[in-house]
Amino acid sequence: MKVADEPRYLPLRSSRHLGRTMQKYYLLMRYQHLWGRPLKRPLAWVTSGAPVEILRALGIDVFYPENYGALCGARRAAVELCRAAEAAGYSQDLCSYARAGIGAVLRPDLAPAGGMPRPDLLVMCNNICGTVLKWYEALAGLFNVPLFTIDTPFIAADVEEHAVDYVRTQLRRLIDDLERFTGRRLRPAELERRVALSNQAVGLWCEIRDFCRHRPSPLNAPDLFVHMAPIVVLRGTAGAVGYYRRLRDEVATRVRAGLAAVPGEKHRLLWDNIAIWYRLYRFFRLFSERGACFVTDTYTGGWAAALAPGDPLESLARTYTTIFLNRPVEFRVRQMVELIRAYAVDGFVMHANRSCKPYSLVQEEIRRRVMNETGVPGLLVEADMADARVWAEEPVHNRVQAFLENLELRG
């Protein structure tokens, strides 16, 4: 296959399959109340870090408002939804997924993809942030449905057993509560099967990410951001496994053929934080047109942690408590330094995402420490993941250009 002279974006064949997969998912969710009710399958809205394996094992279907927020961002519908929430009194300083999500409930006429299907229950785990607790409390009030919470204590240093025990106890209680709610008993074998399915998908996702250690990288960050949707919304299903098997095969083919996501790859970069959804391709083109490829990132790696073998509840408790966003600065610095070394990275870009406080507020410190430890230059870009009103084109371009000029001078 002939490589173009000018760096351009190399699309994945699997992207069409992604489109179909997500379309099918949203369609099924939209009409879940029709086909789910006769099957006695309730619909739960869950946070992205919730232990869904338990819900799936009990025949509960799951919907992810955060994923819907990303979709709204990408479709440029989030601004109007946020304004609807703000008009109802929610602060503009709140997470834009929360504002867009609440806006979509208050103004379904503004909500894309048929809006969000009404939940029968809500399940929140605060491993990702504290905002979700209040967001889901608001939703519980709006829908008058039960809210189930899993509180994962922040890991300030080492993982302590009493923290894992505390979460494990809550998972046990969650199972009891959900058994009562559904009128079904959780079969241990079914939970194990769901855990195994999660792990299979996670293993494939890790393989896919690992392929990007190759020079040149077969994938650029936008590919990872776009293709991570199923690992979130289809976690614990056979569908996710099938999806990632196919993607893994395509990426493996690229590696064998030496195909680069960014032809003439000159700089290998690391991305930190959630994507800028409303500007995904245009933003990364600023880099790819100068031969810079984002070979890895910290965000999509969040779904690359396997559940340990042994007692599923213990394993779930440990994995969901120890996600990177629930860890201190030292851990986050270590994670980035290791990625920089493993992927032979020349520079990194951190998206100071106004919405995501736990992810963003420590970035200046992380940036400084990572630069000092690796000698690799890092850039901080201020924006928001879904609220396009926060996007300022010229200042961002200016900083990105200065950063790339610096990389080019280093040679």
């Binding site: 200046e364 630069m371 230059p377 201020e382 300022a392 010229e394 200042p395 200016n398 900083r399 250009q401 200065a402 000029e405 610096n406 001078l409 280093r410």
Partner: protein, 259 residues
């Protein structure tokens, strides 16, 4: 044989600057003018005037680099960010400088530079022009003082009036109320300069201040701000004679390195 020249063009938010260097990198000519809303046009006109003044044929300007916000509007061999250009220009003027502070019309930036002018790290103001040239213009207008005279006025200050607003627009209201209370203009100006210096010093701390420290950009002409910044940083600053042209100078120096 016709001599060759290198052109640096800096099209900023408030002013456009052009610098012409000879083959040895010596400064031949420079010009500064208000950008207006068509910086590219202003730049073209300035270059034409300069060229005619120096009696040069167009072909004698063999390489051009454009920088500043309006850089894409000017036909140049390359457009380079003003961060890179500023670092290059200041390293040329002050080889000992390791920290460069630049306060322009609406930008304030701090760069840590390596010998030779490569940028090690930088920080800029984001979405807020408080503490920039625009801030000083607004204050000068409220005080009915030409902005060039702010520095001199600050020298006569007996005290210093604290300005608490972080927003330029609200700070203007604060100043008006101070004036109404009879606070001497000198004291208000000293407060304005101190506010700018405090803001910039915070920005500088983020990249880490390393001596020697250089200060450039249009605002560096303001002796009041220079003094206030020296007080904040506890060090004398290296200030170029013509601070507004240093980025254009850097652009011209880069033009000289292009093949």
């Amino acid at each position: 044989m016709d001599l060759h020249y290198y052109l640096g063009v800096d099209i900023g938010s408030l002013t456009t600057k052009v610098v012409l260097l000879d083959e040895e990198g010596g400064l031949t000519a420079r010009a500064v003018h208000r950008s207006g809303y068509r910086g590219g046009e202003t730049a073209r006109r300035l270059v034409e005037e300069l060229r005619r003044e120096q009696g040069l044929a167009p072909e004698q300007i063999i390489r051009t680099v454009a920088t500043g916000y309006g850089r894409v509007t000017f036909p140049a061999d390359r457009e380079v960010s003003e961060i890179t250009c500023q670092a290059r220009g200041m390293a040329h003027l002050f080889p000992a400088a390791r920290t460069v502070i630049d306060i322009g019309g609406q930008d304030s930036k701090v760069m840590r530079v390596l010998p030779g002018g490569r940028v090690a790290d930088f920080a800029m103001n984001d979405k807020c022009a408080a503490g920039t040239g625009r801030f000083l213009e607004v204050m000068a207008q409220a005080l009915e003082v030409p902005v060039e005279e702010l520095g001199a006025l600050a020298e006569g200050a007996g005290g210093r009036c604290a300005i608490s607003s972080v927003c330029t627009v609200f700070a203007e209201s604060e100043i008006i109320s101070h004036l109404a209370q009879g606070t001497p203009r000198e004291d208000i100006v000293a407060g304005v300069c101190a506010a700018v210096a405090a803001r910039v010093a915070s920005l500088a701390a983020r990249v880490g201040v390393e001596p020697e420290i250089a200060f450039t950009g249009g605002v560096a002409r303001n002796r009041g701000v220079v003094r206030a910044l020296e007080a904040e940083l506890g060090r004398a600053l290296l200030v170029p004679a013509e601070p507004e042209i240093t980025a254009a100078l850097g652009a011209a120096l880069i033009a000289r390195t292009l093949s």
